[in-house]
Each structure stands twice: as C-alpha cells, then as structure tokens.
C-alpha cells in the first residue's frame, strides 16, 4: 500500500462513491428503528399522499412524503433496505461459495471433475432464470429464506463459469508448475497459488451478484412472491407506487431511485475492489 501510493495510479472515485452509498444504506438498514422517523407500517388516512418536503403541501417530518395509506415513505425505504441487504448478502454469499468452490476445482483439476461440473452447469443454464425463480418460490413457499435459496440455487453457475475459466488459465502458469516441482500437493497449490489469483474476480462477481440479488428480490416482491405483503420492500413499494403514479409520482420514483442507485453501486464497488485487490493492476 505504501509503495502503491508512490506510483502514479488511477484514483478511483467510483469505488468511494459507490462504497459510500452502500455504507449509508447499510447503516440505515441496520439501525432502522433508531433512524426511521416513523413506524413504516403506521397508516394515517389524514396524511395520505403527502408530497416530499420541497413541494407545497408537504408536512414537516415526512421528508419524502407518504403513500396512499398515509405511511411515511422514508421510513419504508429504510426498512425495505433491511430486506434488500439481507437477501443480497445471504444469497450472493451462498451462490459465491458453492459456485466458486466448484469452479475452482473444475478449472484447476480438469479431467473428470471438470466434465461433471461443466455438465451440471450446462443443464442448469438451460432453464430460463426468471421462470426458474418463480417456480422455486412457488415450491418452497413465499418468505425471505425461499427468496434467498432461489437466488443462490439459480446464480451459483455465474460464479462457477467465470471462476472455472480463470482457474484454468492460472493452472497453466509456470508458477503452478514450479510449486508442483517443489513437491506441493494439488489441493495445496489450488488453495495457496491459484485461489489468490482468482480472488479479485470472485470479489467483483460477489458484489455484482449482490446487486443482482437486490433486483431479483424486488422483482419477486413486485409480483408478490417474496415475503408477506405487510413488510416494506422496495419491489413491493414500486408495485404500489405504480397504481398511484398520476396522483403521487413520489411513491413510485423514490423506491426506483433507491433500487437503481444501490444496484449500480454494487457493480461499481465490485469493479473498484477488483482493481484494488489485483496486485498487477494496483
């Protein structure tokens, strides 16, 4: 790190912007009961469709306005972040662990291990993912854990394919051969020599996958297949906002902005981390 600073290197504002946004949303979600100005579920028909603070007719304390049932939008967005992040972390990490492990073994060992894994991936990818997800949730029942399982079950192949290709090219490198000559075992070499070189890619994919998980969760909420309809989710809010777009645009626009910014941030953050972690690019 010290030497790296001395080198002329591209500073990466995207990494910091994206990371900053994610950190703010994450902290807000974790401390939602302290941060949210109102109860996200409290309805008040006297306060329905209040506009955001800069529009005339806004009520103090309801910064982003209220929805058609008079619930505070900002509070609902903050609580919605809890579910978005829970799904993002749990599903992406599960998909990453399964997919990366299989991809690493297939790519490094090759041979029959590779044939089996590649075959499974091919079969898996023959299913259209959205249908696959809806089918899975239908079978598992709605609920947070079903959504997480569905995303992990569908998306591990994304990690598997990329990690396999990368491990395969690393396995051909001379330093792997050198470790072999020195007398190290294959498993040892895979974990100590190959894995660190594949790690930057895994991290980038992991962050990207978190963004994807946020979108998938939103889609499943949107079609009412995610968790119970009472709990605020960004996807559910978008679905509701769509119905009152002419009377109250903010009910739709704020959750959309939230979703887009968060998903973009995850992918930018991943790319930024990748170049950070890669000693050659660093």
């Amino acid at each position: 790190m010290v030497e790296a600073r001395a080198l002329p290197r591209r500073t990466n504002p995207r990494l910091w912007l994206a990371g900053g946004w994610l950190l703010v949303i994450l902290l807000a979600a974790i401390f939602a009961p302290l941060v949210a100005p109102h109860d996200p579920l409290a309805q008040d028909l006297m306060l329905e469709r209040l506009p955001p603070f800069w529009v005339t007719g806004a009520e103090p304390g309801y910064w982003l306005g209220t929805d058609s049932l008079g619930r505070d939008l900002l509070s609902r967005l903050i609580y919605g972040g809890r579910i978005a992040f829970a799904v993002a972390f749990a599903a992406a990490i599960a998909a990453c662990l399964v997919g990366s492990a299989l991809g690493l073994v297939a790519g490094y060992f090759g041979g029959w291990a590779d044939r089996i894994v590649s075959r499974i991936v091919d079969i898996w990818m023959a299913f259209p993912p959205v249908l696959f997800a809806i089918l899975l949730v239908a079978v598992l029942g709605t609920g947070l854990s079903s959504v997480i399982i569905a995303i992990a079950v569908i998306d591990w192949t994304r990690f598997c394919r990329v990690v396999r290709a990368e491990a395969m090219s690393q396995a051909r490198m001379d330093y792997v051969e050198n470790a072999r000559i020195a007398g190290f075992g294959r498993l040892d070499i895979m974990l100590r020599e190959v894995l660190p070189n594949v790690l930057p890619t895994i991290i980038a994919l992991l962050s990207l996958e978190m963004g994807i998980a946020v979108i998938v969760e939103a889609i499943l909420s949107f079609v009412n297949l995610s968790i119970s309809t009472d709990d605020p989710t960004w996807g559910g809010m978008i679905a509701e906002g769509r119905l009152s777009i002419h009377q109250a645009w903010w009910v739709l626009v704020f959750p959309l902005i939230m979703l887009i910014l968060t998903v973009l941030s995850f992918s930018q953050f991943g790319e930024g981390l990748k170049s950070r972690f890669d000693p050659v690019l660093r």
């Binding site: 001379d174 470790a179 072999r180 000559i181 020195a182 007398g183 190290f184 020599e193 000693p279 050659v280």
Partner: protein, 298 residues
C-alpha cells in the same frame, strides 16, 4: 562408483495422436557437472526437462525408457514418493521469470515455502538461508525484495530471485531451461555468470537447456545435441567444438558464425543436412515399436 546425478535411458514420448516428441533419448549428468542440451526450437529440449521434473503436460505420454535420479528410478516409485524425491533433489530455473512467480504473493513467502513446508526447515533458518542466497545473487536490498510483489521487480531481478530460490534447497540437479532468453541482452551475461558461480560453489549438476552454442561453449563440460526429439551427438564440450562428428552439429555451428559470442543467434541450418536427418528419422519411426507400454510415468 557413485550413480550419475541424472540418468535418462531410451526415453520416448508421444502426443495423444501417436506423433513422437522424444525418440529414445539417453543422456547422463554426473554430479557437479553442467550438461548443455542444444537444439533448435521444437526439438524437445523442454520436454526432456519436464520429464525429469515430473511435469510433462497431460497431452504427452512417456511410452518407454527410464529416468533415474542418483540411482533411484522414478518410474518404480509410487507417484507420491517420486514427487517427494524430485522436490528434495531438483529445482528449475525457468525461461520466463515473470510467469514463474506467483503475481499475487510476495517474494519472501514464495521463496521460503518450499524450505519450510516441504523440507521441514525452521522459519528463521529458512529466512537466513534465503537472505544468504539473495546476497550471493547480488541483491542488495533483501528486505525490500522479500516484501515486493513480482511485478514490482525488473526481469533481471526476478531471475536472480528464481536462481536464489533454486539453489536455496541445495538440490543435486538443476534444470535450467533457457534461463536467459527472456532477458535483456545486457542482463544475460550477468545472469549466466551468476549461475556458473553458484553452480561451482554448491557443486550442483545442471542440465542446461539452450539453443545458443555460444552459451554452451562458455558454461558446459558436456553437450547433447538434439534434433526432432532425437539425440544426434553427445560429447565433451571441448571435443565437440574441436571436431563435431555429426553433419547436423557441423551445420549448426556453421549457422552460428561466432559461437563464442553468447548473443549470436541461430541462422537456419543447411537444408541438405536437415533433409538427410529427416529421412533418417522417418525410417527409424517406421520401424519403431515401443518395447513397453509406458514406464510408470504420467
């Protein structure tokens, strides 16, 4: 009578489609001796090195012959035992010092790994050993180098690091596969000198792969000339340069006008000689049958 450091006898290897890559190669390297292995690109020099070190690519199969390290035949050992023997007795100085180092690990642990984890040395002893060798290869800032990543060092520095690492475990045999071809011309001489110096100091035997007769003349006591996977001539280096016996060797020398100049590169050798050799090899191939179904190598 001690056994040769390396003994290869009748080694033949083929590609999956049956095309022969090595044709009954026999050669020995005595303890403490430098044997040069010369031949043009594609002759199979690297394949011989890889066969000795047990890292032939999966597409290449050894179909006959034996390789013995200090009298122990590798093919007769269980794979694990053969790996352990190779790990303890040999080392490689590779052609490309960039890809031979792991880009995402610091130099220090890469150098000590083998000593500590394979040879069971104590960490402090391994560290001292590495520093001594870095000093031997004229690296003046061992602390900085040990903390660096490979891409932070120059090509010459990386090759010094690899030479130090190769000698660190006191191997009996080093395979040096064109260790200077990837380097800057000005650095090549220094690196060659270092290898020779360390080789003398440690009494290590070296199988030195090169296509450069100038280098052969400078560093080796024995030479093996390889063409299309076949040994065409072997002799003491002085004798070979004084009176090359095989027409291919003579053609090779004629193609390197100033073979005492290590920077000189090969020109194409005489067409007629090559045609003769190719015909000879084709006839031999037609009559060739592997006398055993593989030799236990993989």
């Amino acid at each position: 009578m001690s056994a040769p450091c390396l003994e290869i006898e009748g080694l033949s290897a083929t590609l999956a489609n049956g095309v022969r890559v090595l044709r009954s190669v026999s050669l020995t390297v005595e303890p403490g001796e430098v044997r040069a292995l010369v031949g043009e690109s594609g002759a199979g020099k690297s394949m011989i090195g890889k066969a000795v070190l047990g890292v032939l690519p999966p597409s290449i199969r050894v179909v006959e012959g034996r390789i013995a390290l200090e009298g122990t035949e590798l093919g007769k050992l269980a794979p694990r035992a053969s790996r352990a023997l190779i790990g303890a007795r040999t080392a490689l100085i590779p052609q490309d010092p960039l890809t031979a180092l792991n880009p995402s690990r610091r130099i220090g642990p890469q150098m000590t790994d083998r000593l500590v984890k394979i040879l069971g040395w104590d960490g402090t002893k391994a560290d001292q050993r590495i520093r001594k060798l870095l000093d031997d290869v004229r690296i003046r800032e061992p602390d900085r180098v040990l903390r660096s990543y490979p891409h932070e060092l120059s090509g010459g520095m990386r090759q010094r690091v690899l030479i130090a690492a190769a000698f660190a475990a006191e191997p009996r045999l080093i395979v040096a596969d064109e260790p200077t071809t990837a380097l800057d011309v000005t650095v090549q001489k220094q690196i060659l000198r270092l290898i020779v110096e360390l080789q003398r100091e440690h009494g290590t035997a070296i199988l030195f792969v090169t296509h450069d007769l100038g280098v052969v003349a400078k560093i080796s006591q024995k030479v093996t000339v390889l063409y299309a996977g076949k040994v065409v001539e072997q002799a003491d280096t002085a004798a070979l340069f004084a009176s090359p016996q095989h027409p291919y060797t003579r053609a090779l020398m004629a193609a390197t006008p100033r073979y005492t100049d290590p920077m000189a590169s090969l020109r194409p050798v005489d067409e007629a000689v090559l045609a003769g050799l190719s015909a000879e090899i084709a006839t031999a191939d037609r009559n060739w049958k592997p006398n055993a179904r593989g030799s236990g190598h993989d």
